[in-house]
Symmetry: C2
DNA sequence: ATAATTACTACTAATATGATAGGATTAGTA
DNA sequence: TACTAATCCTATCATATTAGTAGTAATTAT
């Protein structure tokens, strides 16, 4: 039960955009460099994010990406649910026809609950929260480096 | 972010043993039949469960498996953590040397938190709880089938 | 024009997962 | 002792998923 690199990279990409919110579009190239992620791979991750309206893109020279909403209006659940392809921990939760034992299965109920809890936690964290944590971490790093 | 079949099968196997607690060892063959799971596959899942001391096995004719502790003393976290190979949602949480960005990475903190919450929830559910839910579900099923 | 960017499509390599196969070992029973 | 039914052990296989690459087309500021 690990989260995919897609989700992780996607979250980091979104944080990067959040940090640049209001400063005009950001090149994928720069994000890729900052975050040490393959630009080509990021260019795939960006597609669903755009399709869902979380980011806006500008093509051509001086193009790039911007957050479609303010950082406080985007939470981690939206991002992760999208890139992970749902937050259900079992196939039979979204689609109960995948297993004939749904009516009997007790463990399924537990996993349903856990999945909903995860969604709750992720929903409670906005990109703005991440920015704050990020700034805090950077200050700490500054202090330690003196 | 799905849970593996190993964990799911393992949980169901453990519930099956819990339902037979105090009635002597159960054959893998019977569990496999009841739960509609390949016996050979179950025989692999059983190994770590035994190694961790959650179940005891008896070899030879009239052998089988029993819970090593009472159902109230075994919780889902133990089972899932074992079969899933840890409850960390990221490799860099257990082993921080896998990523050079640990000190900067904000999203990692979130995933750390989520993982701990999952562990909490799973820890709060014992096999005894599952037995109760199971009996309840069976009663319901009886009523509906009249 | 041209240069720099996103958009699109296909492919590949590596890894993990789920499952199977077959025999070795153990122990109860006749 | 021979037989049988169970666990134990090791290897293998097939499939799916994941992570990542490659190349080209479309778009737009200069």
């Amino acid at each position: 039960m690990k989260i995919s690199t897609r989700s992780r990279y996607g979250s980091r990409l979104m944080l990067e955009l959040a940090l640049n919110y209001g400063k005009g579009p950001v090149f994928l190239r720069d994000i890729a460099k900052n975050e040490e992620i393959s630009e080509k791979y990021l260019s795939q991750i960006v597609i669903p994010l755009k399709a869902k309206g979380l980011i806006t893109s500008f093509r051509g020279m001086n193009g790039g990406y911007v957050l479609a909403k303010s950082p406080s209006q985007i939470n981690l659940r939206e991002i992760v649910e999208l890139l992970e392809g749902g937050l259900e921990l079992l196939g039979c939760i979204g689609n109960s026809s995948t297993c004939s034992r749904v009516a009997i299965c007790v463990t399924r109920d537990i996993w349903d609950l856990v999945g909903k809890k995860i969604a709750q936690i992720l929903e409670s964290v906005t990109l703005e929260d991440l920015i704050k944590s990020h700034n805090l971490k950077n200050e700490e790093a500054m202090i330690y480096s003196i």
